[in-house]
Amino acid sequence: MAEMMESASRRSGWWRAMLAGPLVFLCSVAVMGALAVVIPPGPALINNVAVPLVLFPGAWGLLFFYACLELKLLRAYAVVVGLLLTNGGLIAWHFIQTAQAAT
C-alpha cells in the first residue's frame, strides 16, 4: 500500500514538473505573443512590442508559482492549457487576418 502511494506521488510529481516546466513556458510565450496582438502600438509603434517583452518574465513567474502551488493538479492543467489555447488561437487569428488583408 505504501509503495503504491509512493509510486502515485512520484507520478504526480512528474506531471506537475511537466506542467510547471515546459507547458508553463510555452503558455508564457503564447501570452507574450497575444499581448502583442491586443496592446495598441501607440504613437511610437513599439508599445505592443516593448510591454509584452517586459511583462514576459513576470507572466512566466506567476504561471510557474501557480502551477507549483495549485492543490488540484487537474485544475492547474485546465487553466494553463486553456490559457495556452486561447492565446495561441489569438496569435493564429492575427496571422490569418494579416494574410487575408495582404491578399
Binding site: 509603434l45 513599439i46 513567474g61
Partner: protein, 540 residues
C-alpha cells in the same frame, strides 16, 4: 513578513532549495561574472590602456578625422558609419554596409573597423570583413569580451547561451520570490549575525543576512536578466513577426525615422559642429554617433547622448547630414516618447547599474558580490549537511570546486592575457583554452584534496597568489604604464584596479587563515529558532 500557510511555505521552501541545487552552480558563475562585468570599461582600461585618456567619449576633432578616414575606405562602406568608444577607451569607427539575408545565410554587416587613439585620433590599426569577425580581431578588449561572453552566453554558441542564461535568470527570480515569501522573521534575519557562536551558525547567518539585504536587488537583476536573454533569443523575433509582419530587421526599418530617399551626392556637413550642437541642445554628452548614407543628400546623423542631469534614460538627437540642420530628438527607444519605450529602456540601467556613474556601479558591484556569495554559501550549506551521503558528497565537492575554482580560473585568464598580449594583436581562442585549462586544473586540485576544506583553502590561496602578481604582470610583461605614468595620462582607473587586485588578493590569502580551525557543531544543539537557511535545508 508574509503569512503563507504551512503547505505553501513548505512547497516554496522546496522550490527555493531545489532550484538552487539544479542551477545554483551555473547561476553562481553568471552572477560572479556579471558582478565583474559592472566594471567592464574600467577592466578594459586596466588591461590595455590607451596612451592618454580622453576627457570625453567622442573627443574634439573626431568629425574632421572621420572625413579623412572616409576617403580611405571602400565607398560601399559609407552606407552606415558608427563611431563609439571601446571598453578600453580607444575609439572604434566602423564603416560598413548591410548584406541582405539569402537562403541558408542570415543578414550581416560587412565593413572596415578602424581603431583610433582617443587623445591624438591617430589610427592604431584597421581590419575589413564581416562585423562578428572584425570586432573579435583586436586583442585590446579580449579580456572584457571574454568576461561578457561568459556572463551573457556561458561561452555557448549562438542562441543556446541566451537560452541558458535566460533560464538561469528565471531560476534566480524564482529563488528570490520564494526566498522572500518564506521569510518568517525578515527584520530579525537582516540583523542577526552570531559571530561568537559556532562557525556553522555564523556561516548560516552570513548567508541569510547577505540574502536578505540583496533580495530586492536579486529580484531586479533576475527579472532584467531574463528579459535580456529571452528577449533577444525568442521575444524580439516573435514579436517582430506579430507586430511588423517580418523579422527584427523589418521592425528596425519600420521604426527608422523617415527623411525621404535621395541618393544624389552631397558632402557631409561639419560633424564636429553637429556634436557641439547636440551637447548644447540637450545638456548631455555625446556618447556615440551614427551616420547613415554618408555622402548622399539623404544622409542622417544620429548622436546618442548620455542621460540629462537627473534623468535615467539617454536619448538621441538627429541631424540632416547634408545641411547639418537639426531634424528631431528621439527618446531612448522608438521614434516618439512612449510608455513601452520608457519601460523597456529602464531594463538597461537597472541591470547594468550605470545610471549614476561610478557610485551606482560600486553599489551594483557590492550587491552583485553579495548575491554571488548567497548563491555559493547556500549551495555549501545545503550540500555540507548531506556530505556523508554518496551523491551529495560529489555535489559538495563540485560546489567547492566551482565556488573557489572559478575565481582562480578567471584570475588565471587575466594573467594569461598579460603574458600573451602583444599590443592590440588578437588572441583568438587563447583565453577560452586558458579558462578551460584553469577549470580542469582546479577540478583536479579540488577532487584530489583530502577534504573540501583543504581544497577550498588551496584554491583561495591560489586565487590570491595569482591576483597578487596581476599588477606586476600588467606593468612589466604587458608593458602597461606604471602608476605615475598612468596618473599623469589620466588613467587613474589603472591604479585603482591594481590596488583592488592587491586588496582582493590579500583578502583571499587572509581568509584561509580564519578557516584554519572550523568549529562544526550539532545543528540540534545550537538553536531552536530556525533561520531561513535552516528551514530551507530542512525542507529538502
Amino acid at each position: 513578513m508574509i503569512n503563507a500557510s504551512t503547505r505553501i511555505t513548505k512547497s516554496l521552501l522546496a522550490i527555493h532549495g531545489w532550484s538552487a541545487v539544479f542551477l545554483g552552480l551555473l547561476l553562481y558563475a553568471v552572477i560572479l561574472t556579471g558582478t565583474l562585468a559592472v566594471f567592464e570599461h574600467e577592466l578594459g582600461v586596466w588591461a590595455n590602456p590607451p596612451v592618454q585618456a580622453s576627457d570625453r567619449p567622442l573627443p574634439e576633432g573626431i568629425g574632421a578625422r572621420l572625413k579623412i578616414l572616409a576617403d580611405s575606405v571602400d565607398p560601399a562602406y559609407l552606407d552606415e558609419v558608427g563611431v563609439f568608444p571601446a571598453a578600453d577607451g580607444r575609439l572604434m569607427a566602423f564603416f560598413h554596409t548591410h548584406i541582405d539575408a539569402e537562403p541558408g545565410r542570415e543578414a550581416f554587416e560587412d565593413g572596415t573597423l578602424i581603431l583610433l587613439e582617443p587623445s591624438t585620433l591617430d589610427e592604431v590599426d584597421r581590419v575589413t570583413g564581416p562585423a562578428d569577425e572584425v570586432f573579435r580581431h583586436f586583442g585590446n578588449n579580449a579580456l572584457s569580451n571574454f568576461l561578457l561572453d561568459l556572463h551573457i552566453r556561458l561561452l555557448l554558441p549562438g542562441q543556446w547561451g541566451l537560452w541558458a542564461t535566460g533560464l538561469l535568470g528565471f531560476a534566480m527570480l524564482v529563488a528570490a520570490v520564494s526566498g522572500f515569501v518564506i521569510h518568517k522573521h525578515l527584520l530579525k534575519d537582516i540583523f542577526t549575525l552570531r559571530r561568537r557562536r559556532a562557525d556553522v551558525l555564523a556561516a548560516r547567518d552570513a548567508h541569510v543576512i547577505a540574502g536578505s539585504w540583496s533580495l530586492p536587488f536579486a529580484f531586479v537583476l533576475a527579472f532584467t536578466g531574463a528579459f535580456f536573454s529571452f528577449g533577444g533569443a525568442i521575444g524580439l523575433p516573435m514579436l517582430a513577426a506579430i507586430a511588423f509582419g517580418g523579422d527584427v530587421e523589418t521592425a528596425l526599418e519600420v521604426l527608422q525615422p523617415e527623411v525621404g530617399e535621395d541618393a544624389s551626392p552631397a558632402a557631409l556637413a561639419d560633424l564636429d559642429g553637429i556634436l557641439a550642437s547636440a551637447a548644447a541642445r540637450t545638456g548631455g554628452e555625446p556618447q556615440n554617433v551614427f551616420i547613415n548614407h554618408w555622402g548622399r543628400a539623404d544622409a542622417l546623423v544620429t548622436v546618442r547622448m548620455s542621460a540629462e542631469e537627473g534623468g535615467l534614460l539617454p536619448g538621441a538627437v538627429l541631424y540632416k547630414g547634408a545641411s547639418g540642420e537639426f531634424f528631431k530628438t528621439l527618446p531612448n527607444l522608438g521614434n516618439e516618447p512612449s510608455f513601452g519605450g520608457d519601460l523597456a529602456g529602464l531594463m538597461s540601467p537597472l541591470h547594468f547599474g550605470n545610471f549614476a556613474g561610478t557610485p551606482s556601479k560600486v553599489v551594483w558591484f557590492a550587491l552583485g558580490f553579495a548575491s554571488a556569495y548567497v548563491a555559493l554559501t547556500g549551495m555549501v550549506l545545503w550540500t555540507r549537511r548531506r556530505e556523508s551521503e554518496p551523491g551529495w558528497e560529489r555535489l559538495a565537492r563540485a560546489t567547492a570546486w566551482l565556488g573557489y575554482g572559478l575565481p582562480a580560473s578567471l584570475a588565471a585568464v587575466a594573467a594569461g592575457y598579460f603574458l600573451m598580449i602583444d599590443g592590440i594583436a588578437g588572441l583568438g581562442n587563447t583565453l577560452l583554452f586558458l579558462f578551460l585549462g584553469g577549470l580542469f586544473l582546479t577540478a583536479l586540485l579540488s577532487f584530489s584534496a583530502s577534504s573540501t576544506d583543504v581544497a577550498n583553502r588551496l584554491l583561495l590561496r591560489l586565487t590570491g597568489a595569482i591576483m597578487l602578481v596581476l599588477p606586476l604582470l600588467r606593468w612589466q610583461v604587458a608593458d602597461g604604464p606604471g602608476w605615475l605614468t598612468a596618473l599623469s595620462s589620466g588613467l587613474g582607473w589603472v591604479v585603482v584596479m591594481d590596488i583592488s587586485m592587491i586588496l582582493g588578493a590579500l583578502a583571499c590569502l587572509a581568509y584561509h587563515r580564519r578557516q584554519d580551525a572550523p568549529v562544526w557543531v550539532s545543528d540540534a544543539s545550537v538553536d531552536d529558532d530556525l533561520t531561513v537557511a535552516e528551514r530551507v535545508a530542512d525542507a529538502a
